[in-house]
């Protein structure tokens, strides 16, 4: 009854429902002192249905803020986000979000953490359990159903979060530095796994990362943001062929290195500027 596999039953217009359109998006916060702080300024960006789009930018430039506006958790100060053809003004269904911070429920078992998504959609418990077990198997955690999050390693927790994000078969997947805190080997394995799952389900992905290798290896498009207040500086289309297979191998290809170099050139100034600014504040 819940469509899992085959993932995308071709409905007319189902394609468009996964388009993310960000137009002139700005977000201002009130600081505790009562001053207005502009986190992002005039961000315009389109993610085509089924596209894998990475966002890179210096720390504090407003990447997480952008994602929060897309998810509907926050309201933009000006500009708009639309998903499909609807303006986002509140939680949109069909959107999954992997947060920058660990967001597993510590009081729920691994199984409980994964099955909460379908349960909240009204799936009967038996069905939700079956689905969750299937997803845990897919991310390589069969046999860990009854553990609590504190009994897992950091990498395992990320797998649980990934299963929990994908189980509802989202049309849009928002990922905020999902593999940021992992060691290099685990990271490579998880990236390959993510690519496989993404190729099966084909959601549109907005993927924040600081790791340029990761951005180039996974995405169709890399967006560079300027230092704070963030706006879009450059957009690179990554024309590496798909399926990309093992991300470990792709890193050595000539085209990969070229693209990576270009992106770094573009990002370097911004990172330096952000660093100088924070150093100036500290002085």
């Amino acid at each position: 009854m819940v469509e899992t596999s085959p993932p995308h039953v071709a409905k007319p217009g189902a394609e468009d429902a996964a388009r993310i359109n960000i137009v002139g998006l700005s977000k201002r916060y009130l600081t505790p002192k009562g001053e207005v702080f502009t986190a992002i300024h005039d961000v315009t960006l389109t993610v085509e249905p089924g596209q894998f789009c990475a966002i890179v930018g210096p720390t504090g430039c407003g990447k997480s803020t952008t994602l929060a506006q897309v998810s509907g958790l926050e309201q933009p100060s000006s500009g708009s986000v639309s998903v499909g053809n609807h303006i986002v003004d509140g939680i949109t269904n069909g959107v999954s979000y992997m947060f920058q911070a660990d967001a597993l429920f510590p009081w729920k078992s691994v199984l409980g953490n994964v099955m909460i998504g379908p349960l909240l959609l009204g799936t009967p418990k038996v069905e939700a359990t079956r689905l969750a077990k299937d997803w845990l198997r897919r991310v390589g955690l069969a046999g860990f159903e009854d553990r609590f999050p504190h009994q897992l390693s950091g990498g395992m927790r990320k797998r649980v979060a990934m299963a929990a994000a994908l189980i509802n078969n989202p049309r849009i997947l928002l990922m905020d530095e999902p593999f940021g805190a992992l060691d290099v080997q685990t990271k490579a394995i998880m990236q390959t796994e993510l690519l496989q799952l993404w190729e099966e389900l084909r959601p549109s992905v907005l993927f924040i990362t600081h790791d340029l290798d990761e951005a180039v290896a996974l995405s169709d498009r890399v967006v560079i943001m300027t230092s704070s207040p963030g706006s879009v500086k450059d957009i690179f289309d990554i024309d590496l062929p798909r399926p990309r297979g093992d991300v470990q191998h792709i890193r050595h290809e000539q085209r990969f290195l070229e693209l990576q170099g270009q992106i770094w050139e573009s990002l370097k100034d911004e990172v330096t500027r952000a660093y100088e600014r924070s150093a100036a504040v500290a002085a």
Partner: protein
Amino acid sequence: MTAAALRRTVTQAPATNLQLAAHRARVRRTVWIWLGQFFVALFVIGGWQWFTAAGWVDKFFFGQPTGIWNSLVHLFTVGTAFGSIWENLWVTVQEALLGFLLGTGAGVVAGILLGSNRYLASVFGPYIKIVNSVPRIVLGSIFIVAFGLGVFPKVLLAAVLVFFVVFFNAFQGVREVDQNLVANVRVLGASPLQVARHVTIPSAMTWIIASLHTAFGFAIIGALVAEVLGATHGIGLIISQAQGNFDPDTVFACMVITSVFTLLAEYLITLLERSILRWRPPNRSESQAI
């Protein structure tokens, strides 16, 4: 022997030897603790007995351990002027338990409501602070006058005392909820009620359960004080009767009886805590709990 050589001999010792040594050290520690505890009891009770027997402290005012023991025996074999001790204990236990349940329920509901609703918190906040600062125990007199000598006013006083302890903890617990988790469950499409069920309540549970230990003590105090103020049955009545008869031994005996009951309840609350908070990583509070 150099330190390095010493380290080598230690690491070379077979694992079984190490385990045996650790076991022996643990047993020795436990025995020492028991001995220490025994001597503390001996010192306090023996000293008390000695001082009163020697006449340095007047047992007419301060009782005497052997006298307390005799009154305990008397209470359980002969009974009291108001029926058997069991009957009276049951009345007090009933009042304390009902008050505890009522106060906890109201405290949890109010705490969660006010904790998750800024508007309600701002409206009721000052009033709760005011009510919290009045000496609530005095309400006992009003309850007795209003509702008579039966069980109900005692339950009410116990509940009022329990309410505030649980309320403040539940309120704080809700305030401490990880906003990331709330965001996570909201993105998954949870309604406000579902947010409460899946995140707010489980998260506040740590705080609420921690408050139950203190709250139960307050329930007993509420029931006893209300009984002292006016009752037809109950441990509090026996206490006030004994006070009238200048019989400190019976007062102490009643204290012993209530303490045993409180310890029992405390134990049950600990069991509840273990089963509800199973998900928590084992930490200092459990491994080194007193």
